[in-house]
Symmetry: C2
DNA sequence: TATATACATGAGCATGTGTTCATATATTGA
DNA sequence: TCAATATATGAACACATGCTCATGTATATA
C-alpha cells in the first residue's frame, strides 16, 4: 500500500508541513523566552561574559528578585547556567543556538 | 577628553551592550509573534505558499475567527501580506528574515 | 436588490505572565 | 554561633493573551 503524501513528508524531509506537538512546544517555548524585554536584556548582557545576579540587577537597573525569577526561567530552559564562587553565583550562556537567534534579531532590528 | 568605553561601543560596534528602548521593543515583539503555537503553525503553513483564511482554518483545524485574529496580529507586524481575489483573501509571508528565524528554530527542535 | 459567501471585528472570559513584597536559604567571616 | 551578604522563593496583584461567540462588512451572484 502506498504511503500518504503527508506521511512521506514527515518521514523523509525537513520542510515538514505538519509540526508535531512536541516540536511545536519546544519552538514556542524558545521564542517565548526571547519575547520579554527583561530577558532579552539579561541574555544580551550575558553575551559579554558571565555575571553575578547582583551585577545583572545593578547593570540593568532591575530588582534582585526580578532578575532571580527570570534567571530561574532561563535556567529551566537551559538557556543559561551558573557556577558558584562563595556566596556569588556567576551566570552565563548555555545555548549557542538560541543566542544566535537573539543576535540575529537584534542585528536586524538595529539595521532598522 | 577621551570617550567612555560604553559610548565607544555604542557608536562603533554592533555588539551593543546597551539596547535602546525601540530596538528592545521591536525584538521582543518579533519573538512574541513566534511564541504562540497557533501562529507558528500558520506561518509554517505559509512557508509552502499563499493560502486563504478558510484554507488555513480547515488545514490546521482552527476556527475562522481565531485564524483571522492571528492574521491581523501578523499583518500588523508586517510578517504576512495578502492579495484579494473576489471574496477570498490569499495570505502569504512578508518578512524573509523572521521566517528564517522560525525555520532555524524548527530545524533545531526537530534535530532534538 | 436580496442572498450567500468569505472574512473581520469587538466583547467577554479563562488563563498566562512579570513584577513587587516579604521571607527563606545558603555561605562567609567574626 | 551570630551577623552579614548573596540569592531563591512563594504569594499576590495588575495586566496581557488567545479563544469563542455573536455580529459586522465586503464581494459576488441570482
Amino acid at each position: 500500500m502506498m504511503m500518504e503524501e503527508q506521511e512521506r513528508e514527515q518521514l523523509f524531509t525537513e520542510d515538514t508541513e505538519h509540526l508535531d506537538e512536541e516540536t511545536l512546544f519546544v519552538v514556542s517555548q524558545t521564542f517565548k523566552a526571547l519575547s520579554d524585554p527583561t530577558r532579552i536584556r539579561i541574555l544580551n548582557l550575558l553575551c559579554t561574559g558571565e555575571h553575578s545576579v547582583n551585577d545583572i540587577a545593578e547593570t540593568l537597573n532591575l530588582s534582585q528578585s526580578s532578575v532571580s525569577h527570570q534567571l530561574r526561567f532561563l535556567k529551566n530552559l537551559r538557556l543559561v547556567k551558573y557556577r558558584r564562587a562563595g556566596r556569588t553565583l556567576y551566570y552565563s550562556e548555555d545555548d549557542e543556538h538560541v543566542m544566535n537567534l537573539l543576535k540575529q534579531a537584534i542585528k536586524h532590528a538595529l539595521h532598522h
